[in-house]
């Protein structure tokens, strides 16, 4: 119910136009990957999905950021049912991939931000390798690029009060890891897919 409140507030605030450019909102198992500029990113994306899909889609969030206070922890885990992953001190035993795979299971979809952190520069940053490992372990899952436009002006990093401007979320055509595609090529291709969505 709290989540419904967030969705309502998000829709009001972000004035988001949702464009399903390359695929349609079907309840399939997918990994949505997007550029990251604002804490509103996953609220807006989550609000963009239809109700039945929202229940099966879990955002991936950084453990170190979202456990700093009880409120943040509650919002990230109980309200949005996010998957908290380690991003600072990644080791073989404490890596981000396993919790993500476990959270996905057979039915759940994920929302991830391969840049790793909120980017304040106008260009989309380099993608970290999590997406590649996920694609390798679960090759049948559709990888959907998503471009989030203008949310960084609505709620920039470091601000708490939002400014209600218009924004746009574009969902692109699903992609898969190529047979013999290397990590660098794949991540570059994925990044390019998100960049292209802006003008699609």
């Amino acid at each position: 119910m709290v989540a419904a409140g967030f969705v309502g507030a998000a829709n009001l605030l972000t004035g988001a136009t949702i464009r399903w450019v390359g695929c349609s909102p079907e309840p399939r198992q997918r990994i949505y990957f997007a550029n990251h500029t604002s804490n509103l990113d996953f609220v807006a994306m989550w609000a963009a999905l239809p109700g039945e899909m929202r229940a099966l889609t879990r955002p991936v969030a950084a453990h170190d950021y979202w456990t700093t206070s009880a409120v943040r922890h509650y919002v990230a885990t109980r309200v949005f049912r996010g998957v908290l992953i380690e991003r600072k001190k990644v080791t073989a035993h404490n890596n981000p991939i396993e919790p993500m795979l476990a959270a996905m299971g057979e039915r759940h979809s994920l929302i991830i931000f391969p840049e790793g952190r909120r980017n304040t520069l106008p260009e989309i940053g380099e993608f970290k390798s999590g997406l590649f490992h996920l694609a390798r372990k679960r090759p049948e899952v559709e990888l959907v690029p998503v471009h989030i436009d203008n949310l960084n002006r609505i709620l920039p990093r470091g601000e708490v009060l939002p400014v209600p401007l218009l924004s746009c979320i574009s969902f692109g055509a699903p992609m898969h890891l190529g047979e013999s595609e290397g990590k660098k090529e794949f991540l570059a291709r994925a990044r390019e897919a998100v960049i292209q969505l802006r003008h699609a």
């Binding site: 988001a16 136009t17 924004s167």
Partner: protein, 314 residues
């Protein structure tokens, strides 16, 4: 319903009739459209007629419901128009807090003051206090790059989308001898003349437009459209003089002024759009209603009409 002015209801009836005719014409054209181009233009016409119905209904209901609802309606319209304008303007991180004030404090405050009829306050809130405060708040945030442009652009947005438009519902506050309590009728007359002016200029332009006025800024505006539209609007406004507190020739003069300002509003807002490289205000990010595209004429006409009326009956 607090307003039972027969002229108001009569005008609403006429508009309803016109919309019905427009819908029937669109239906007939739809049946006759054969090729792609014709069908596309009919679809465009249909969506315009549909949105005209919707806007007319909301506006009429708000007017009939009274001053508070009318003020609230215009506050919402201002908010949406401002949202489009600021989305289009390149502001920076340093403007964030100032923008928060603009959207959530200055805009509602302006309309609360209009609602309370504090003319001495609402006539200066934005041009003096808003103007100074936005600049101060942005400067205090410490970002100097493009500072003057950013402050100026935000002020422009506030002036056009909020200040100017708020003079429309402010008409309900005017005390006019022999016209007491009929402010809603005058407001309806203003909006009707403004919208009809746009439609007539467009229609004249379509049928006989040949000499462009400002081709770089607005390729659709022609001298034939402008002169034909303005002339017809003046006649129409004069014909409806009974709805206004003016004599017939005075009403003609007012309608002329409104039509001229409406044209000017469309021209100026187009200039801004060309500067920013967009076709419509709503389409910059994604694609939204385009509230500012619809309101540009009224934003310029409302304050001038308010002032002239006030001065005339001063």
């Amino acid at each position: 319903m607090t307003n039972r002015d027969p002229m108001l209801l009569a005008m609403m009836g006429v508009v309803l009739g016109l919309l019905l005719v427009a819908s029937l014409v669109t239906l007939a054209l739809g049946r006759r459209a054969v090729d792609e181009a014709a069908r596309a233009s009919v679809a465009d016409l249909r969506s315009r007629v549909f949105s005209s119905w919707w806007m007319c209904l909301v506006f009429s209901l708000a007017l009939l419901a009274g001053k508070v609802m009318t003020v609230v309606l215009f506050a919402i319209i201002s908010f949406r128009a401002l949202r489009e304008f600021i989305t289009l303007t390149p502001t920076r991180r340093g403007d964030h807090r100032a923008l928060f004030w603009v959207f959530f404090i200055l805009t509602p405050l302006q309309y609360v003051m209009v609602g309370m009829d504090w003319y001495g306050l609402y006539s200066v809130l934005i041009p003096v206090y808003g103007f100074l405060f936005v600049a101060i708040r942005s400067a205090a945030a410490g970002e100097s790059e493009g500072f003057l442009e950013r402050a100026a652009k935000i002020q422009w947005g506030l002036m056009i989308c909020v200040y100017c438009l708020s003079y429309a519902p402010a008409l309900l506050n005017l005390e006019i001898r022999g016209y007491d309590g009929r402010g809603a009728t005058l407001l309806f007359w203003l909006v009707l003349v403004t919208e009809v002016s746009d439609v007539l200029q467009y229609a004249w332009g379509r049928c006989c437009g040949r000499h462009k006025i400002a081709p770089v800024i607005s390729p659709n505006k022609t001298w034939e459209g402008f002169l034909g539209g303005v002339a017809c609007t003046t006649l129409m406004g004069a014909a409806l003089w009974k709805a206004t507190p003016f004599a017939p020739w005075e009403a003609a003069g007012m309608a002329l002024g409104v039509a001229l300002m409406g044209f000017a509003g469309g021209l100026v807002m187009s200039a801004i759009k060309r500067d920013r490289g967009v076709k419509d205000y709503g389409s910059f990010i994604g694609g939204h209603g385009g509230m500012l595209d619809r309101m540009d004429s009224l934003c310029f006409a409302a304050p001038v009409f308010f002032h002239l009326t006030q001065m005339h009956f001063g």
